[in-house]
Amino acid sequence: MMNIVIGAAVLFLVFRGIIAYFNHDSGCCGSCAGCKSACSMRK
């Protein structure tokens, strides 16, 4: 049971990181100064 809970938590964190990475690469991680500028330009 604990294996499933911890495994799911790790998977969640990994997918969260992967999504953050691809958001960053598409120009909008929404956190760094460069991305903020890129976001405002796209808007």
């Binding site: 790790v10 964190l13 969260r16 760094c32 903020k36």
Partner: protein, 614 residues
């Protein structure tokens, strides 16, 4: 409207007035010369946390936010311009916005100490007849320097209100907001003494006359002038810059590193032991425990321990940026860069790039000359960004304990590589041309505000922590997976026979002449292409212990390794930014090949020469 007293009587009523504009939606455009304090005022009016720096060209894109207390009023921060004729890409953003978007009001921010030059832009806006409010910023500094401005005279000339403020000290803001509220309702069109298409010589003559009549200037030899005579001195400027750079990196990487790295490492180790014991008690599988402890904690955890060092570095850099020293460095660098065919304007994006290459690459938009701009885009990633610092700090601590010159030397190596890379690029047919003239106003030195320094440092640190706890964490788990299993998905007897082991052994011979031909180093460099922080994380995961790292590197090969990580093609995020600025994928790939080839040669020279000497 007195800058000394700040708010006028009835402050609450005045503040309430702008809050009560609810009939329709309004847009206020913030316009002004570069480095007049627009972003500081924008942050104040909107409670935003945009990056502020005491040099021109910090804002290269428009930024939009709602006015505090009134969602009906949008405030647009535009890049700094000297006139409304579009010249550079960032100037075009401002020009097009004023021409095409018809803002309800232009808030024209003027550096009071540079009144005459600022009035050229004031004339350009006023000749469009758009309702305007002029904020005479840094009025307190101007007054200290013996400049008194007759705002009533200026109001009569341009038919718009002039308010004296100090955005950095938050003085006069209530009066300004009240004046803006009046203007939004009244919509009094501004006017100029000359038509829009008047020749520039006539405009300059007219504004010189207006400035002469409106400002009384006592010729005071102020502190900034005296200090500038030293820090921009022909002989002293460069040694001072080197000393300041050395001090900053020495304090943050070496001194703070020695204080914090011990307990931070012990904290991560203790957490690892706690998780291992807890998981064992809960019956969690060995593989999952290894993933969490050796993979995630060993990777992301080994990078997060550098946060104190990075925070101190960001604080020190912010102080230098905010006080105005960095614009002097750009001025000094122009003299050196020009010898090698570069413009000092290229240095400003490089200063921005010490935080992250992405905004550094974007800051190159302030450069008018296209070839200089493209060259700057290619050279900015040579500077040590925050993601490269964990690698430098890791090796400085492990291999060069007690050698205080190591960490600062990489900053200087970045600057030297920019010069050398620029010389090489200038000799290729495409970039060969005279550097553009560099015009830079040296604004007055001022004491950095705690708020600005904190905002800037904390934002950068927060971005680093966020990246490590998301992207680097995921990458650490992937690296663990690839070094735990064989290509046939069996648990590997040793990491050497894992998927990563095979990839690493295939690539490693390329790096053998540079002194780090082991598969772990090769894989670490490859993972660094996704994000540079991965290099430190991979080194820790793949070697597994400090002793193993020390055994795999000599001091010379460790230094060559750091040099290669510093100078080789940047991470994917920066490459995406490079492509955006360069325009074509083919040229972006060429730029990446140049950067990586350059890094290879430098690392090769360091290792081979170092091996010969030591």
């Amino acid at each position: 409207m007195n800058v000394e007293t700040g708010a006028a009587p009835g402050e609450e009523i005045q503040r309430a007035r702008i809050k009560n504009i609810k009939d329709k939606k309004f847009t206020i455009a913030l316009v002004g010369n570069p480095n007049c304090g627009k972003t500081t005022l924008f942050n104040l009016m909107t409670k935003s946390r945009e990056y502020v720096g005491n040099w021109p060209g910090v804002t290269v894109e428009k930024k939009v936010a709602k006015l505090v207390g009134n969602d009906n009023v949008a405030v647009v921060d535009l890049p700094g311009v000297y006139s409304l004729s579009p010249y550079t890409p960032d100037e075009r953003v401002t020009h097009d916005y004023i021409e095409n978007e018809n803002p309800d009001l232009v808030l024209n921010i003027i550096d009071t100490s540079l009144l005459e030059r600022s009035l050229v832009l004031t004339h350009a806006i006023a000749s469009h007849g758009v309702p305007m409010v002029c904020a005479l910023n840094m009025a307190d500094i101007a007054r200290r320097n013996g400049i008194e401005v007759d705002t009533r005279y200026l109001e009569s000339v341009f038919n718009c209100p002039f308010v004296q403020i100090s955005a950095a000290k938050e003085v006069g803001i209530d009066v300004l907001l009240d004046t803006i509220a009046h203007q939004l309702v009244e919509r009094r069109p501004s006017k100029s003494v000359l038509p829009e298409d008047a020749p520039m010589d006539d405009v300059r003559k007219a504004v010189a006359e207006i400035a002469g009549k409106s400002a009384v200037i006592d010729d005071v030899d102020n502190f900034s002038d005296r200090l500038d005579r030293i820090v921009t001195d022909k002989w002293l400027a460069i040694p001072i810059f080197f000393a300041v750079s050395w001090l900053i990196y020495f304090l943050s990487i070496q001194v703070v590193g020695e204080i914090t790295s011990g307990w931070a490492e012990r904290a991560v180790e203790a957490l690892g032991t706690l998780i291992t014991n807890s998981f064992a008690a809960m019956g969690v599988s060995e593989m999952l425990t290894s993933l969490v402890v050796d993979g995630i904690l060993g990777g992301a955890g080994s990078v997060i321990i550098f946060v104190p060092q990075l925070f101190v570095l960001f604080v020190l850099l912010s102080i230098l940026e905010d006080c105005g020293y960095m614009s002097r460095v750009a001025f000094v660098m122009d003299r050196i860069f020009r010898v090698f065919g570069l413009s000092g304007k290229s240095f400003i994006p490089m200063v921005v790039g010490t935080g992250c290459s992405v905004p550094g690459i974007m800051a190159s938009r302030t450069i008018e000359n296209k070839k200089d701009r493209l060259m700057t885009v290619v050279l900015v990633p040579f500077m040590p960004c925050s993601a490269k610092l964990p690698v430098i700090a890791l090796f400085a601590g492990l291999m060069f304990s007690g050698h205080s010159w190591v960490a600062p030397s990489f900053y200087l190596m970045g600057v030297a590589s920019v010069i050398l890379g620029g010389v090489i690029l200038k000799h290729t047919g495409f970039f060969k041309q005279e550097p553009a003239p560099f015009v830079l106003e040296l604004s007055q030195y001022h004491l950095p505000t705690v708020k600005n320094v904190w905002e800037s440092s904390w934002q950068r640190t927060k971005e680093f922590i966020k990246k490590v706890t998301t992207i680097i964490l995921a990458a650490s788990a992937v690296i663990w997976f690839l070094q735990y299993f064989t290509p046939s998905l069996q648990v590997a007897d040793s990491a050497e026979y894992s998927m990563l082991g095979y990839i690493g052994k295939f690539v490693a011979p390329i790096f053998a002449p540079l002194g780090f031909g082991n598969w772990q180093s090769a894989v670490s460099i490859l993972t660094g292409f996704a994000a540079r922080e991965n290099v430190a994380a991979s080194i820790n995961i793949l070697f597994g212990s400090e002793a193993a790292i020390r055994a795999a590197f000599t001091q010379v090969s460790a230094y060559a390794f750091c040099a290669f990580v510093l100078l080789s093609s940047p991470c994917m995020g920066a490459v995406a930014a490079m492509k955006k600025e360069i325009g074509s994928m083919k040229n972006t790939l060429l730029a990446m090949c140049f950067q990586t080839g350059f890094a290879y040669i430098i690392a090769l020279v360091i290792y081979q020469a170092g091996r010969f000497i030591f």
